[in-house]
Symmetry: C2
Subunit: 579 residues, 2 copies
């Protein structure tokens, strides 16, 4: 029977509880959101003693299920003021699941400020002082802790940004080889961890019992169907788009669609797109050789393997991973077209513990204010260092784009619910704008990725410039996403299951096999919608209204080249998403 | 017939309109709030092109009505995100009224950044470039403009804080002798003025027709009753508490009541209270002589005369005015007990264009974060200079206490709706907490001053530590205040009219005489409540909910010495204020 670890930072005490029956059909996002709803007062201060931080592996995580090494982290967000779930792909997720830990709940605050470490083993868990790690970069933390606990453990940590309680601080997990590079980046959950004095979690899966599987046959059968679909689909298959170019394959695609936000959302096309594209990225990695790698897996057991390792010119490892969103945020959005400079900025974000999306959007706002020039990568790097060092300017930047906008008096701030938009301009792709506006998470592409239908022609094809049907599309995608995030599957399984019916069946059957549920594919929307309703209810109790489900005002009067469209999705269409 | 001046900053054009019939029974706050409701989209960006800034003298302003030289400024607040009205006592109010200008509406934004000046005379009004004033302190602006336009004009201006679009920037009006010291301080309306490129307004009342009075006899009769009451009441009469000691008379009173917030709201009593009290202030002014003065009037025709001029030790003028709220915010709240240092900080706030209450509360939060020490006046002065200069640290501070709290990760932030609480701790005086929580303006003592009944035994006596009846009390006081702010009377007339029935009658009759209304004292609540309902409706449309009508969470778990009470006003009591 799975258990919950409850870590009380005030009493410096860890207790174990059985997972209550009402949580049995939950995992990942479904579980973190439910626990946050049940235990966190919606109006509490996100950095105060009454907020909690919840870690939960997905329902299928830790098994042989393909591409399922996801961990969800939940709490009340210091960035949005609403509920937050942010998930990452990492072996840590798999280890917790194999230790039969359904969730870790971190609560309270120590009386005196300090740094602690949680050590989780099959024998139990305990807190230990960790003042030696205070202020350390995530890569240094990983080096120290792998040295101390052996290279088989998993590590979750925050960088200086989280310790400084910055609202763009993420929580960093190690990748398959121990790099401090996999992030629950969005919404400032790193600051919540910092506010509790918890610098790191070390997970040792030695002697783990493994995930309990209710019906192995059902699981194997479902899993087989899903893997087949993943290996067939053009986007997710080995040698497919994601595997070959990584997510940066989207740079050229979105640029051609006129929806690649450039120069702080002033244009939908970037002159430097080709220099930063997935194709150029893969070519550069291949040409430089050495430590460079495409088709890298963030955790063992991934079929898709879309990650990469970007090398310096001489072949030494520079950073993992140059993802599309990071590439865009720190590149196109700042008019920076050097992959090496972008890689260096990603490395800094990884080390300081900053969300790359929020960081890039914030740099765009700072450039808009004239703090440094668009295209000036040296200036951008200097600003990121200020954020890492927690200088006054760094504290402005480290609190995100909306915050920086207020600090500098900038009106053109691309945020919803205080969270920066990812790499799709809603004026050029209307459905993703509906997701940005209405997701309980704030602007988030992963919350309901309508780019599938609107740009990639996956799961059907819809005109990105048309408003029609986008409320329904966004709702369906948001619910499906909530289901996938609850299972613990990587969102990139979606491409295959949207187009291949047996893949979809297989996904549901794999969950049934593990958890003993008897869901059909018909249940996906229902299960996902229940998770969303919980999140929406939390936000409502936290004071959110329909007014928070709106895109930034400037997008309603400033047309975006090349389509020269403004945001024209009617409020009624937005309000129709969740009724 | 009164007119409205409409100043379009995009087209650089001023037009005149008749005051529409539906605004006939409005002035001051009632008029600014109604125009904001009618013309400003509640969800617009406060610093964007769709916000407007509205100036309106009160209904009786510009006549012989005692203590009535008030001007209201309204708009959507960059500090709270809701509607804002902030009023000041100044000859400028009287001049506009005598020019029969019911309101000035400033709208739009210039295409290029710049500084302009609005020159208002009996012949009309026009915009002129004012780049020579860019970045200038308010005292320098006044010096330059009195030099250029003569010493008979009135001046409204913003300091560098407003030009830098800081959310604690106020709008500064001259006092009776031309000092740049009278403020519509709260809510960041100076930033709205700055966002429109309007640096100053010069008002020349030469050849003004004067305020139209519908029935001179009724007016004279009412006015006589009101003046009698003001001259009788112990607090407002010549030689009374306000006239002798200024508003700082409250330092000792609130300290004894255990409700003088000290050290960023950690205690209700301040060891340095006696050194900063109104009594010590008056003594010091008397002892030093020279330019010092108590019983100073902010505008001609004030019976109460509660302002003061604080001198340096050698008698040279240092600053006007050491008010209770400024004294507390920059003194007790920061544990600073030197009147000279407090005076210097007020001078800096006046010059930079900063709201002293928000400034002091923000310094308290910065001290809480360790940016400088409590009690360190040199450090506090240095921080205020940073705000004035717009350095990165200054931009954090200049955006207010809630903003600084986020920047520094401080949880103990004494704000409601993003606006800092004034000098009364709601844990020790429950009714004022109800006003702080529920006023559409954010935490604001002037919005419904229950201190009258709870501490001063004016208008009845109620136990400050009891919750009972405080919703009713707050509502009644909020409505009465909205009425007074609409008339254009100084709020300090309230002491007399609460206890002297003929004073209350006189106030209403004076309005009837001027505007031809036929209100009775029974109408005060109705008229005031209509203004409040308009403001509440704007806030609702801007996305406010009951969750915004709450005191900060930390006050619910942190008891305040010496009474050691937490905030215990039930949510239901708060929600009962406006139903």
């Amino acid at each position: 029977m799975a258990k919950i670890l409850r870590v009380n930072m005030l009493r410096q005490e860890v207790t174990e509880e059985e997972v209550p029956a009402r949580y049995e059909r939950l995992g990942g996002r479904g579980l973190t959101s439910q626990i946050v709803m049940d235990e966190v007062p919606p109006t509490c201060h996100p950095l105060g003693p009454n907020n909690k931080l919840v870690f939960a592996p997905g329902m299928v995580t830790g098994t042989a299920a393909a591409s399922s090494g996801r961990i969800s982290v939940g709490g009340k967000s210091p960035l949005t003021g609403g509920i937050k779930e942010s998930n990452a792909g990492t072996p840590v997720a798999q280890m917790l699941a194999r230790l039969q830990i359904g969730a870790i709940i971190v609560e309270g605050q120590p009386e005196e400020e300090g740094s602690w470490l949680l050590h989780v083993t099959s024998d139990g868990a305990e807190l230990a002082p960790a003042s030696q790690l205070k202020g350390k970069a995530t890569s240094e933390v990983n080096k120290a802790l792998f040295g101390q606990y052996g290279d088989k453990v998993g590590i979750a940590t925050i960088g200086p940004a989280g310790e400084n309680r910055m609202a763009m601080a993420g929580i960093c997990f190690n990748d398959a080889e121990g790099r401090a590079t996999r992030y629950s980046g969005r919404g400032g959950l790193g600051a919540v961890m910092g506010s509790k004095g918890l610098k790191a979690i070390v997970v040792d899966q030695a002697n783990a019992l493994g995930v309990e599987i209710k019906n192995a046959e059902v699981f194997r059968q479902g899993e087989k169907k899903l893997v087949e679909a993943l290996r067939t689909d053009d986007i997710s298959k080995p040698g497919g788009g994601l595997n070959t170019y990584g997510t940066s394959v989207l740079i050229n695609i979105m640029n051609e669609a006129g929806g690649l936000p450039t120069r702080n959302f002033r244009s939908g096309q970037f002159a430097g797109a080709d220099k930063t594209s997935g194709e150029t990225l893969a070519e550069t990695i291949a040409k430089r050789g050495g430590a460079g790698k495409t088709g890298h897996a963030c955790h063992p057991g991934c079929v898709i393997q879309c990650s990469n390792i970007f090398p310096y010119e001489d072949g030494r490892e520079h950073v993992s991973v140059v993802e599309y969103e990071s590439n865009w945020a720190l590149g196109a959005n700042c008019e920076i077209d050097s992959l090496d400079d972008i890689a260096e900025m990603i490395r800094l974000c990884n080390d300081y513990g900053l969300d790359t999306i929020e960081a890039g959007a914030t740099l765009g706002v700072a450039m808009e204010a004239g703090i440094t020039e668009f295209g000036d990568s040296a200036g951008a790097i200097r600003l990121l260092r200020e954020a890492g060092q927690g200088t006054p300017l760094g504290r402005i930047l480290g609190n995100g784009a909306a915050f920086a906008g207020r600090a500098f008096g900038v009106v053109r701030v691309p945020t919803v619910k205080g969270q920066a938009m990812p790499a799709y301009d809603p004026r050029a792709v209307k459905g993703i704008g509906v997701t940005f506006a209405t997701s309980p998470m704030g602007a988030d592409h992963t919350a309901g990725y309508t780019i599938c239908q609107e740009v990639l022609s996956v799961g059907g094809a819809m005109d990105p410039l048309s408003v029609e049907g986008k409320a329904d599309l966004s709702r369906t995608m948001q619910a499906a996403t909530a289901f996938i995030d609850t299972c613990g599957y990587c969102l990139f399984t979606a491409f295959a299951i949207l187009d291949i019916a047996t893949g979809l069946e297989g996904m549901v059957e794999s969950v049934n096999g593990i958890r003993g549920t008897n869901w059909t594919t018909e249940d996906i929307q229902k299960v996902g919608m229940e998770v969303l309703r919980t999140e929406l209810r939390f936000n409502e109790l936290a004071g959110f209204t329909k007014v928070d489900d709106r895109l930034p005002e400037f997008m309603s009067y400033e047309p975006l080249p090349p389509h020269n469209q403004v945001n024209n999705v009617p409020d009624a269409e937005l309000d129709a998403v969740f009724g």
